[in-house]
């Protein structure tokens, strides 16, 4: 069955409420690495949640843009978790997280060069073969760019998806954050995306540091991000959408209310489109 509707990122403080309280959450996104553990409570809750909700898996350490060898042991573990919970899809980020065996646990930007493009494309193909499925890659928030850039981030992402035949998780907040930090037009980014490959939207809050923005996931979604989401709905139609909150985590009800804002916006757009 095709995934549709509005989801949330599954976070530990919400386990009980997700299972025991009435709410209108259509599906949940789980952080892959949180469940690559031998056993215990995380996997026990995940199994119970899986009985009731469709899931998607979202990784943070694939490091698709790294020049280190691909970690096939990690991919085997990811595939094992996927066999257990049968997610609708597996996503990770268009970035690198470390080299020389180190993990910096951050989503580091790539230079947008032909060399980096070839590296990522080759690795996506290997990863998709190892996982036995297409993956989704997400655009990250970034705070720096390289003199070496030969193309824009959106051209790079579009080329990766097209050449490696993978799909796209479009993070609306990340587009906005990066557009402020690098001074580009976020609408240009949206318009450059291949519509058929955009399978999921992320929404999240950021922190305004005055001149620049940081992707902190600790605030409600900001108005300019809602505005950009509205444009995304016009451009792509309704795409499975979820909210990420990683810090300053409120009661589940508060996030569900925020999710309903997205739901209402999408409904308004589909009425206008009809």
């Amino acid at each position: 069955m095709k995934l549709s509707g509005f989801g949330l990122g599954l976070r530990t403080p919400h386990y009980e409420a997700i299972l025991n309280e009435p709410h209108a959450i259509d599906w949940l996104e789980v952080i892959t690495e949180n469940y690559l553990v031998p056993g215990g409570k995380p996997l026990a809750f995940l199994d119970r949640i899986r009985e009731r909700f469709p899931l998607v898996m979202h990784g943070v350490s694939l490091s698709i843009g790294s020049t280190d060898p691909i970690d096939f042991e990690y991919l085997r573990a990811v595939r094992g978790l996927a066999a257990r919970i049968e997610p609708h899809w597996i996503s990770d980020h268009l970035c690198w997280t470390g080299v020389a065996g180190r993990n910096l646990h951050d989503l580091l930007p790539l230079p947008y060069t032909e060399e980096a493009l070839a590296t990522v494309v080759a690795r996506v193909s290997q990863v998709q073969d190892a996982l036995g499925r297409q993956i989704l890659l997400e655009n990250v928030s970034s705070y720096l760019s390289f003199h070496a850039d030969e193309m824009s981030e959106w051209e790079f992402l579009r080329e990766v998806a097209s050449r490696a035949d993978c799909n796209i998780l479009l993070d609306i907040n990340n587009i906005y954050v990066s557009s402020v930090n690098h001074g580009f037009d976020p609408l240009k980014y949206l318009q450059a995306m291949p519509k058929a490959r955009v399978h999921q939207f992320h929404l999240a809050g950021h922190s305004n540091m005055g001149g620049h923005l940081i992707d902190t996931h600790d605030h409600p979604i900001a108005q300019p991000v809602w505005d950009l989401y509205s444009h995304a709905l016009t451009t792509f139609g309704e795409v499975p959408t979820m909210i990420e909150r990683d810090d300053n985590i409120p009661e589940l009800g508060e996030l569900v209310a925020e999710l309903n804002v997205a739901r209402d916006l999408a409904a308004r757009h589909s009425r206008q489109a009809a």
Partner: protein, 270 residues
């Protein structure tokens, strides 16, 4: 260096060196444009790297953080992060060497209880998400034929861990995790052995007597019940051993610590 032509590998190694606080030329490769100069752009990543790892340490070591207070905790965090770049896919495993680091760290070694608290918290995290295995009910032990008891062997739950504390570490941990004032650190007359395990997704720990410690050690080494009784010979009068050993097995079964019974001869060796 012509930064426009740096191979991706070199660029990543150089940027990683910068984030790890090592000597690096990467700033020359970064665009310097409003709203931020290149140095500030890099600083966002350098700062986020350290803060994220210190946050991860807090997730595993909340009691240690509480004992140290914010200032000393952050000082420890920066020192540990500088000494231990992560090699883990999941940040869950970051901080594995913190107890050893504290024991060896001259600025903290006047308080050796801190290293024991760290060891306890790390071990509790291991117990929390160790491999699952269904526990054997006590009735499974009762069903063992009397003639088979001598050769009985036990397999324990994968979460089972043993620790030895020279300090009142467990009492301090308990008070801190219940938001109570911890007792003053005190050294025990002799190291106390602790047993940690998980039952029904819940972590447990308690101290062990010398007899239980010897019996468990024996069982974990794959010795059968008769051999386990032999191993207790130095600690208990002969006539008390079989009942004491059987009672320990019952306690372990009630705690959900036993997952399998097996058999290994010779049945009786004495």
């Amino acid at each position: 260096m012509n930064t426009l032509r740096v191979p991706l590998r070199e660029l990543q190694l150089d940027m990683q060196r910068h984030l790890l606080g090592e000597k690096s030329d990467v700033s020359a490769a970064i665009v310097d444009a409003p709203p931020l100069p290149a140095a500030d752009r890099l600083a966002i990543y350098r700062n986020a790297y350290q803060v994220r790892l210190i946050d991860a340490l807090h997730e595993t070591y909340p009691v240690l953080h509480g004992l140290l207070g914010d200032e000393a905790w952050v000082q420890l965090g920066y020192a540990y992060v500088a000494a231990h770049p992560s090699v883990f896919r999941s940040i869950r495993w970051y901080g594995r060497e913190l107890a050893d680091f504290l024991a060896a760290c001259s600025s903290f070694d006047e308080a050796p209880i801190l290293s024991e608290v760290a060891l306890l918290e790390w071990t509790l995290a291991e117990v929390f998400d160790a491999t699952d295995a269904p526990s054997l009910p006590r009735s499974a032990l009762a069903a063992v034929e009397p003639s088979a008891w001598g050769s009985l062997t036990l397999e324990f739950h994968p979460s089972l861990r043993r620790l030895a504390f020279s300090w009142n570490t467990a009492a301090v941990w308990k008070a801190m995790s219940q938001d109570e004032t911890p007792p003053r650190p005190e050294m025990a007359p002799a190291p106390v052995r602790w047993l940690l395990w998980r039952q029904n997704l819940q972590n447990y720990f308690r101290s062990m007597s010398a007899v239980e410690e010897a019996a468990l050690d024996s069982a974990l080494r794959g010795r059968n019940f008769a051999q386990l009784c032999e191993d207790l010979g130095a600690l208990l009068p002969q006539e008390e051993i079989p009942a004491a050993a059987a009672s320990l097995l019952g306690t372990w079964a009630d705690g959900g610590m036993i997952v399998k019974v097996g058999s290994s001869g010779p049945e009786v060796s004495q």
